[in-house]
């Protein structure tokens, strides 16, 4: 009677593979509209001394271990979390760790973001976003702030009545 679990799983698997083989974004506009060069987590770890002087940002893929950045976080100009794969939820935990646990103070930008996930991203600690796609006439407010109440403490509960 239920829909195929296999189909559900297959689409997630294919989604994950597509996301991993996609070339990474190499730059992003920050909140002041400046273009910031992005390097991978591996590149950052290998060349942290030089890169930290250049004001570059780090792009974090869902499969990256964000803990690798912990010790040098203060030198990273901006962190871009890649939300391209709709069903891959690792970015939300990455945002939580960076924002709430390690108090990363610079911009955490959700790139390749989806409208229907904005409220989850923003509450997890993402501070700004770049949409992967959009459609005509949408009201952004519908997606960043769809509810009047929240039932859990998160990195960001602003504007919501807290019930927990």
């Amino acid at each position: 009677m239920s829909e195929s679990n296999e189909l559900e799983a297959l689409s997630a698997t294919l989604g994950a593979k597509v996301a991993e083989s996609r070339p990474l974004d190499t730059s992003v506009l920050n909140k002041d509209n400046e273009s910031i060069k992005l390097v991978s987590v591996e590149q950052w770890i290998e060349n942290v001394n030089e890169l930290s002087k250049l004001g570059v940002g780090v792009i974090v893929k869902p499969s990256d271990d964000v803990k690798l950045l912990k010790d040098t976080l203060n030198d990273v100009a901006l962190i871009a979390l890649d939300f391209n794969n709709f069903d891959d939820g690792r970015g939300y935990s990455q945002a939580y760790l960076l924002s709430k646990r390690w108090k990363y103070a610079e911009e955490i930008i959700g790139i390749n973001a989806h409208l229907d996930q904005l409220q989850f991203m923003l509450r997890s600690g993402v501070t700004s976003y770049k949409l992967l796609e959009s459609y005509e006439g949408f009201d952004e407010h519908d997606y960043t702030n769809g509810f009047s109440i929240c039932y859990q403490a998160a990195a960001n509960n602003s504007g919501l009545k807290e019930k927990f």
């Binding site: 799983a9 997630a12 891959d88 939580y96 459609y135 109440i149 859990q152 019930k163």
Partner: protein
């Protein structure tokens, strides 16, 4: 009885509004099928080729009669006059029109019911012991905890896109009516040496093709720390769970691959950093408010010298369906919806309304749903049980077969489900026909037979006394037999008896197994006790001789 506050009701309406817009965008071509699929599942909606199925939550399995009538109205107005009570405290409708879904959900929200997270890769409806608050020796009523955990993980920003679905069950009773340790995460209420209340936590259980018993990851988590512990348990899963293999998405595979010890170590390491965060402490004020809301609506009653009516059918029914209530003068009454040849758990709108009327009359307007797909009247005055039985009898809801081997749990199987490899309900019917002698059924006692039509194991065959799993062999339907699975006292996955048996021979095999049990039973021994004592060999020899 607990009811949602106006702000909770507003949240339900906001969720429906949001889903209605997503549906419209999808129909307008502005939201692609893959994304819409992920979003609609989180609202309980499955789209099949010819019809749409909606799964509505019955949180902790507790319903009031207003809610049951609303479910009946939905069945009439939006479906074909019936609903299907599932094994996990949900109800499913199978013939829903897309254009009507938002109105349907709005109607349900007005009585505090919803379909949020009844499917999809997030925390599902959190199930509780259906007899919560009713039995002697219980540590605490599980439902206030279920409600607080449900709220916390309701659209949780961090844990709404997990690798796979995540099922949680909570039990506070002595016996495990929830099957805790075949859940992704099970919580058992316990007291430590100091008498403080907390939870033992089990992670990584599940049925399906790779049935596993959950490992104990924490022996005692204080009540106020449970939310932070659950977050850490889910955070490790969210970050490290398998997302690359379609058959390894559930947390049981992560726990198996890492080893329970290493998984627990990772959870503890994460938890150390959050357990003292005051924001993550369980709100004890909310807890005590909920405890009041869930308090039983009855007081002890003394029926000195009370003598129940004498009636042959009544006494048989009573033996199998009425249990002792911890409050004197009351009983717990179980009602089965199972009819020969029909899908277990199916109820017509008429039956739902009859049950609601009877619950208003005899049961303090409250009902519970169980994993055996039955309906429980949690508190019936001892001197009214006979009257209730007479009414149930009148409406065909008091078959004396209930509570015997004939109360078979079966999935819809090949007759209704695209995934099934074999039929389930016709096998259940044939078993019921084979065992149609009431004296023999009473002699056998409560022996569980569960029949799943495929490896998804919707009928939980792994944890039944006799489990049947449908499969295909050279284009014919065969059944693999497992024996002596259990969850009530401890959790054991049933053992495979031997080669699978053809559909023609499977009922003979079931009868052989029952006969070996009867021939070897000493006094009141249960099936699993006999199995432990004599081993698998006598069963094997009889079936494959």
């Amino acid at each position: 009885m607990y009811q949602y506050s106006p702000e909770d009701s507003k949240f339900l309406v906001e969720r429906v509004d949001q889903f209605e817009k997503q549906l419209k965008r999808h129909l307008d071509g502005d939201l692609d099928a893959a994304k819409f699929r992920s979003l609609r599942l989180r609202n309980g909606l499955y789209m099949e080729l010819h019809a749409h199925m909606l799964r509505v939550a019955i949180p902790y399995g507790t319903l009031n009669t207003t809610q049951l009538r609303a479910l009946a109205d939905v069945a009439d107005k939006y479906d074909r006059g019936f609903g299907h009570f599932t094994t996990r405290q949900n109800i499913q409708y199978n013939w829903i029109e897309l254009s009507e879904i938002a109105n349907l959900l709005r109607e349900l929200s007005s009585v505090g019911l919803h379909a949020i997270q009844t499917s999809g890769k997030a925390t599902r409806n959190i199930t509780a012991d259906p007899l919560s608050g009713l039995t002697e020796g219980e540590i605490a009523d599980a439902r206030p905890y279920c409600e607080l955990i449900r709220r916390w993980f309701n659209l949780h920003p961090e844990f709404s896109w997990l690798p796979g679905k995540f099922k949680i069950a909570v039990n506070g009773a002595k016996l495990d009516e929830t099957a805790l340790r075949v859940h992704d995460l099970g919580l058992r209420l316990v007291r430590n040496k100091e008498g403080e209340l907390g939870f033992t936590v089990y992670v990584g259980g599940g049925l399906g093709a790779a049935a596993m018993v959950a490992a104990e990851t924490a022996s005692f988590v204080p009540v106020e720390d449970i939310l932070s512990y659950l977050e850490s348990a889910m955070r490790i899963y969210n970050l490290k769970g398998r997302r690359d293999h379609l058959k390894k998405l559930r947390i049981k595979f992560l726990v198996r691959e890492l080893g329970a010890k290493e998984y627990s170590r990772l959870v503890d390491e994460d938890w150390k950093q959050t357990r003292d965060d005051p924001e993550l402490k369980l709100n004890l004020t909310h807890l005590s408010e909920l405890e009041k809301d869930f308090a039983l609506p009855i007081k002890p009653l003394a029926f000195d010298g009370f003598e129940d009516k004498v009636d042959f059918n009544y006494s048989i029914w009573k033996k199998n369906n009425v249990r002792a209530h911890k409050i004197s003068g009351h009983s717990i009454v179980n009602v089965s919806l199972t009819k020969l040849g029909a899908a277990p758990g199916d109820a017509t709108s008429e039956q739902m309304r009859i049950l609601a009327d009877l619950a208003d009359q005899y049961g303090y307007s409250e009902l519970r749903t169980t994993k055996r797909q039955t309906i429980v009247f949690p508190h019936v005055r001892k001197d009214q049980v006979f009257d209730l039985w007479q009414s149930l009898e009148k409406y065909g809801l008091a078959s004396p077969h209930q509570g015997t081997l004939a109360q078979i749990v079966a999935c819809p199987g090949g007759d209704y489900c695209d995934l099934a490899k074999a039929v389930s309900i016709p096998i259940a019917t044939r078993v019921q026909q084979r065992f149609d002698d009431m004296d023999k059924l009473l002699d056998i006692g409560d022996l569980n037979i569960n029949i799943s039509g495929c490896e998804n194991s919707c009928a939980h065959h792994h944890v039944a006394d006799i489990g049947l799993l449908g499969m295909q062999k050279n284009g014919e339907e065969y059944y693999q037999i497992t024996v002596a699975g259990e969850t009530l006292y401890k959790t054991v996955i049933g053992k495979k008896l031997g080669p699978s048996v053809s559909g023609d021979n499977v009922v003979d095999a079931v009868e052989d197994i029952v006969n070996v049990y009867l021939d070897n039973r000493e006094e009141e021994e249960k099936f699993t006790e006999v199995f432990k004592r004599i081993g698998i060999k006598p069963f094997k020899e009889k079936v494959y001789e």
